[in-house]
């Protein structure tokens, strides 16, 4: 018989090592489906690596891809810290994008110094409102936010499609369901000449650092951690649990909303209903890989983005399916969960006495 025995303390070094090992293990395990797909394994890995690190272009592309993941990863990490299960990052992202388009396509105009913060604020507010609804239903009526926030994703997406066919439709768009372009004064500047990497990346890093500081160094963060750790004890200690949850909903929704702003105002320039290939959902994976740490979210986003960009490049060169990227990300999550288990428990062989 094998017994599961909890370990005493977890050393911080192990806490950092686990996701790294998990990521590497997932990359190694990817050899199995690669072999099944009939691709030469070592050249495939080489192609994947050069697809990420090969040139200035590939590196900036990876960072560009990581940008929305940092935002949605933060949205999930912050909410999950308080045990608010926000599965609605995708919808909040679209709300943020919609608000950015609403404010940024001619409602008002001004210098970038005014317009960029305004667009960001509008998107963050819209995202916050998107999660505040489910959070209020949770605190008022005990409605399960997993269900409400998830279902809201589809409602919001359909609403966005409606707006793109109606009020927000670009009259110069040749009939395509897309918004008018964001005004030049509201576009996030690019960071490197002739590359797509934009200021949204720096904003994402800054938001992650702020989130880390809030959680670790402020009373507000203390309350969030207490409510997430043990809501009953937090309530007993006089912490306003419902207020804390609503506040967390605003922070989390705002992060997801910023992902939408960053994609519209930084990358695409206008809104379509295929703005996000599931960044909201991928954010959940990123947050779990990061162990719900905001700093970890940055690293996990870079990893997930590298896998996606690298696998894209590999699939083009080798003719294997680009779904391999999803497979690697999923496997790294499983490896992470297994690794987390072994960090907290050890297995002990138990000798059973004969009766």
């Amino acid at each position: 018989m094998i017994e599961i025995v909890p370990r005493g303390t977890m050393r911080p070094r192990i806490a950092i090592l686990i996701p790294v090992i998990a990521g590497l293990a997932a990359l190694l395990l990817a050899a199995v489906p690669l072999a099944f797909a009939g691709a030469p394994i070592l050249p495939a890995y080489a192609q994947m690596a050069s697809g990420v690190f090969g040139s200035m272009f590939t590196v900036t592309e990876t960072l560009t891809r990581a940008t929305p993941l940092i935002f949605t990863g933060l949205a999930a990490a912050i909410a999950f810290r308080a045990r608010l299960w926000n599965i609605g990052g995708e919808g909040q992202l679209y709300l943020g994008a919609l608000a950015a388009v609403w404010v940024g396509t001619g409602m008002i105009d001004g210098p970038p110094i005014l317009m960029i913060p305004l667009v960001l604020a509008a998107g963050a507010a819209a995202g916050a409102v998107g999660l505040l609804g489910p959070a209020l239903l949770k605190t008022r009526f005990g409605a399960d936010e997993v269900v409400t926030s998830l279902l809201l994703n589809f409602i919001i997406l359909i609403f966005v499609q409606m707006m793109l066919e109606g009020a927000f439709k670009d009259p110069m768009g040749l009939g395509w369901p897309q918004s008018e372009p964001i005004l030049d004064s509201a576009v996030l500047p690019t960071l490197v000449d002739r590359m797509r990497l934009h200021a949204g990346f720096l904003i994402a890093i800054a938001v992650a650092l702020v989130a880390h500081a809030v959680l670790a160094y402020t009373v507000w963060g203390f309350r969030i951690r207490a409510v997430g750790g043990n809501a009953a004890a937090a309530r007993h200690a006089g912490i306003g649990v419902k207020r804390t949850i609503l506040g967390v909903a605003i922070m989390s929704g705002a992060c997801a909303g910023l992902a939408g702003v960053s994609e519209v105002a930084g990358l695409k320039g206008y809104l379509t209903s295929d703005l996000s290939p599931g960044f909201g959902y991928a954010g959940i994976v990123v947050a779990m890989l990061a162990g719900l740490s905001p700093i970890g979210v940055i690293a996990a986003s870079l990893f997930v983005a590298s896998v996606f960009v690298g696998a894209d490049s590999m699939s083009r060169a080798m003719g294997v399916s680009s779904f391999l990227a999803d497979l690697i990300v999923s496997m790294s999550l499983i490896c992470m969960l297994v690794g987390g288990f072994f960090a907290r428990f050890r297995l002990r062989r138990r000798t059973t006495r004969a009766p």
């Binding site: 005493g8 303390t9 160094y217 402020t218 009373v219 507000w220 963060g221 203390f222 309350r223 951690r225 207490a226 750790g229 043990n230 009953a232 004890a233 937090a234 309530r235 007993h236 200690a237 006089g238 912490i239 306003g240 059973t352 006495r353 009766p355």
Partner: protein
Amino acid sequence: MSGSILAMRGMTKRFGPLLAADSIDLDLYRGEVLALLGENGAGKTTLMNMLFGEYTPDAGEVRIRFPGGDEEILPPGQPQAAISARIGMVHQHFTLAENLTVLDNILLGTEPLFSPKRSRRRARAGLHRLMETSGLNAPLDVRIRNLSVGERQRVEVLKALYREARILVLDEPTAVLTPQEADSLFAAIRDLLGDGLSVIFISHKLREVLAFSDRIMVLRHGRMIGEMPTSEADAGGIVRMMVGEEQARVDRTVGKPGAPALGLAEISVPASRGHRGLFDVSLTIHEGEILGVAGVAGNGQSTLAQITSGLLQPGQGTISIGGRDVRRLSPARALREGIGRIPEDRHQDGIVADMSVAENLVIERLDSPEIQRQGILRRSAIAAHARTLIDAHDIRGPGPQARTALLSGGNIQKLILARVLEAQPGIILANQPTRGLDVRAASEVSRRLIEARDRGAGVLLISEDLDEILTLSDRILVMHNGRIAETKSRDRAVIGAMMTGGAAA
């Protein structure tokens, strides 16, 4: 083991430093009801979980005698073996799938997983026969969610009987039943004893034990303290055995009561899923006294504590602090008004296990300027504060920055006590403050409570440990069935009778 159908010998189970069961012997005879009594944590449930294979004992063996005369030692730690030895257990908390019908629940686990055809008709006929002979009736095609708790309890028993249990363990079967439902359950089970069923019955309700059982065993601190035929038992004697007459752990000193500190007037709370009801509860705690509330668990003490902590708003009645009426008492308000609270369940309500010891020490005073400045935590001040309290209260563990989960139960209680006493509260609610603690930790807690009283605090001490109440309290209240009564007596038998619903003396 002449005549017994079940013999447990030397059953021992240790959880870390706690000896939950200490070489307990138990015999069960054919056709009898054996009542197992003891305070919370006395080891009753631990013992039954070892019988049922849910815990693996550290030592001891379970012997089963079959009707033919064969004997078998149950392999430890295997519920399947207990089931095939025809031991059935009805847990305190129901183990029914709410969205399935009664029939489905009863058959669950008895059918082969991949059998192509389910012999429902045969099962149904068998169940109808069983219901007829046992007198336990349940509507087979109704979903569990639509049944009352009494009906659900009957389904649990039917489930065990359907598996042809010869030994039935009932763990506080009436905790959620009305007296009428309980009576009908007992009557039905009584009828089955003639057919060779034997019952082990765990309960806190002495009246039921005296009415329903044939033999009584009392456990205390994991050891078997005594055993007697029910016909020779009386309530007072049983209570004495349950709570013990050990030497007082702390010398009793007398407080000097001053002005009223906390008053509850005619507080009533309707019963609900989460808590027992209270009826017209009035009490006054004075400065400088310890007011003890005795009673068997589940008679409304938790509800009283929730109201005093600010976690629950009473339906009726008023709360006054220092002579002023307080309209809505919330936990934050209670803290501001100087009520220090030691919660009953320290793990659930007392600490955030994943946060550090230092953080748990300041969790009740986040607004204090010593802890924060403009919303920013003063981390070094918090750490220094933690070191001071850890030294003063001898909180042992890996240090102030370690996760609180790593502390032992006794040290977690010291942490909570340190946090409460540091605020110099005028009123202290101590709900089961020494439950589960070893003697030394318990006497430390008692000493601190007396110190606080001598400094002028009014202490409301709720405890199931009658010794503790008698040793510490200046005045004693007894709770029974959501009502409260004061007693001048310090006689165990008198208080014991009040705890079981007898008249006040």
